[in-house]
């Protein structure tokens, strides 16, 4: 009888022991696979923050709220800024304040308006202008079409790559936009308007991919249809949520002085806020990583001890095989095959557990992880766990194999 046949029979003819070992390893593999994938996603939690601007001006709020609201398209609906402020900054006009201060704005390189004005399904629509597509250091490129912002051609949108893919839209198609100013959880579709797709962006693997872009004029018209706007804005629909600003090296101080001290807005610097974010989440990530490693280690040790006990209990069986003329190599091969088969079967079941539970875990963790639209996670990302499990189950045979090589057959049989 071949070594592999012996291994196979040993597995299937001890159903209780095999099922227990299989279940323990499969659960460990499934659990570790999910942990590994969550860890990988968590590492990418803020990789989806869009690039582009040096600073963001928003309504007074926490700096991280402004950063994530503007560049990661997440969080609650942000507060409003008067559109006049944008016009002033865009014109680079000098501003004279009542206290006599005179601020010149020639330090601005680029200012881009940014207004969340509607939703298309679950995707946010941003009203902006063409400057958003061409930052001095970073450009959004079009896969097809263009951004139409001529006043005589209203009702056009540009789609982020994920939006186009998920909603299966292309140039010339229409998409229904429902006004959104954050007053209701579910925007009322009856107030919506159909817009025509004029362009589709290439993927940036950032939050830009999850947005639709229309003109400021169209965006402000959309929110004007929202009855609750007056409760949120003292400036009517003549508003913005953010201004994305590009600055020269010496522009940081003056803009902070202007915006934070003298307007309803607040400026945050993108690089500094990202650093702040990393510092805040770094400790949590380290603890999470340590706990994950500990769980994986404990699971691995529990399974290893179970397997070592299983193979160790086979002393007499191995002695019988040796007495019947099986060489040490043949018996060792049978043991290794049994460990390998057990590992492979457990990985197959573990991967199914992984596939079944991962979406649920991702849903439970919600915004603690990057959006599935931007950062996907496939079952193959658990492959290192499978490899480790197969190696570990095979390696757990080593102790009995070492004993086999030193076994006194006569004593083992007599006892």
């Amino acid at each position: 009888m071949s070594s592999i046949r012996l291994a196979w029979l040993s597995l299937i003819r001890r159903p209780l022991s095999t099922t227990l070992a299989l279940a323990a390893i499969a659960l460990a593999v499934g659990g570790c696979g999910v942990l590994l994938r969550l860890y990988q996603l968590e590492q990418n939690r803020f990789s989806t923050i869009a690039r582009g601007s040096d600073a963001i001006i928003g309504a007074k709020a926490d700096g991280l709220d402004i950063l994530l609201g503007a560049l990661d398209a997440e969080g609650k609906y942000p507060g409003f800024l008067p559109y006049k402020l944008f016009e002033t900054m865009q014109a680079r006009a000098s501003v004279r304040f009542e206290d006599g201060a005179d601020v010149n704005q020639n330090y601005l390189k680029q200012v881009t308006p940014f207004l969340y004005c509607a939703k298309a399904g679950r995707f946010r629509v941003v009203a902006t202008d063409s400057t958003i597509f061409s930052w001095p250091n970073y450009s959004l490129t079009f896969a097809s079409g263009r951004f139409i912002d001529e006043p005589d051609q209203p009702g056009h949108v540009v789609l982020g790559a994920v939006v186009a893919r998920r909603m299966n839209l292309k140039i010339g198609d229409t998409v229904d936009l429902t006004p959104w100013v954050g007053n209701t959880k579910t925007p009322v579709p009856q107030m919506g308007q159909s817009f025509t797709v004029s362009g589709v962006l290439n993927s940036t693997h950032s939050s830009w991919d999850r947005l639709l872009f229309t003109t400021i004029a169209d965006g402000q018209k959309l929110i004007a249809n929202e009855p609750s706007l007056s409760q949120h804005s003292i400036w009517g629909n003549n508003v913005l949520n953010y201004m994305l600003v590009d600055l020269p090296a010496d522009g940081y101080g003056p803009i902070q002085n202007l915006i934070n001290k003298r307007t309803v807005g607040q400026v945050v610097f993108t690089r500094a806020e990202k650093k702040h974010l990393r510092e805040l989440t770094g400790t949590g990530q380290s603890i999470g990583t340590m706990i994950s490693i500990l769980v994986i280690l404990l699971g691995g040790l529990a399974v290893a001890s179970m397997l070592v006990a299983r193979f160790d209990a086979m002393g007499v069986q191995l002695a019988v095989l040796r007495a019947l003329g099986y060489s040490r190599f043949q018996v060792a091969l049978a043991l290794l095959s049994e460990g390998f088969l057990l590992g492979v079967a457990a990985c197959a079941i573990g991967s199914m557990i992984d596939m079944a539970t991962f979406p649920m875990m991702r849903w439970v963790l919600g915004s603690a992880l990057p959006s599935p639209d931007i950062v996907s996670s496939t079952i193959w990302q658990s492959a290192p766990v499978w490899l480790a499990a197969v190696l570990a189950t095979t390696a757990s045979v080593f102790l009995p194999v070492i004993k086999l090589y030193n076994q006194d057959i006569h004593t083992s049989l007599r006892n």
């Binding site: 009888m1 007499v316 019988v320 003329g325 099986y326 040490r328 007599r414």
Partner: protein, 169 residues
Amino acid sequence: MLAGLFLPTTGRVTVGDHDLTAMADAHRCQLRRRHVGLVFQKLNLLDHLTATENIILAGGVTRERATEALKAVQLSGRENDRAAWLSVGEQQRIAVARVLAGEPDLLFADEPTSSLDNRNAQFVIDALLKAAKGKTLIVVSHDQRVASSFEHVIEFDRWAVHSKAKGPT
């Protein structure tokens, strides 16, 4: 020791032309597999294997040959029963069938009838003697009736060893 399961600390063990003490372990295994049949006192069947599978563990035994051997020890129809499900007497007969199926040149049987009634014991001894025709069969037994079936009996009585040869049975 004669089967090469363990080696003496001094001296030599020779089986036929083969010096077991001078052989590598792999060669001793090969020799055991091809030329030696063992019936252990504790039977040492693998509980999770069927009667047939326990028999074909012995080297070069086909399924057909295993079925024939089971028939020879009156266990026809029990081919697919696991060893653990059988009585001790039946297990003992499987252990004997394993030796019969392997057709070895040298047979060792340690108390091969210890768990059998008189009728089955005689049946097993007859089967072993039949399989050992023209070969060497060494049986260890406390049962005088078993001893009486053999050509050459060596008695161990405390420290004394008595050897007596008889005519063939």
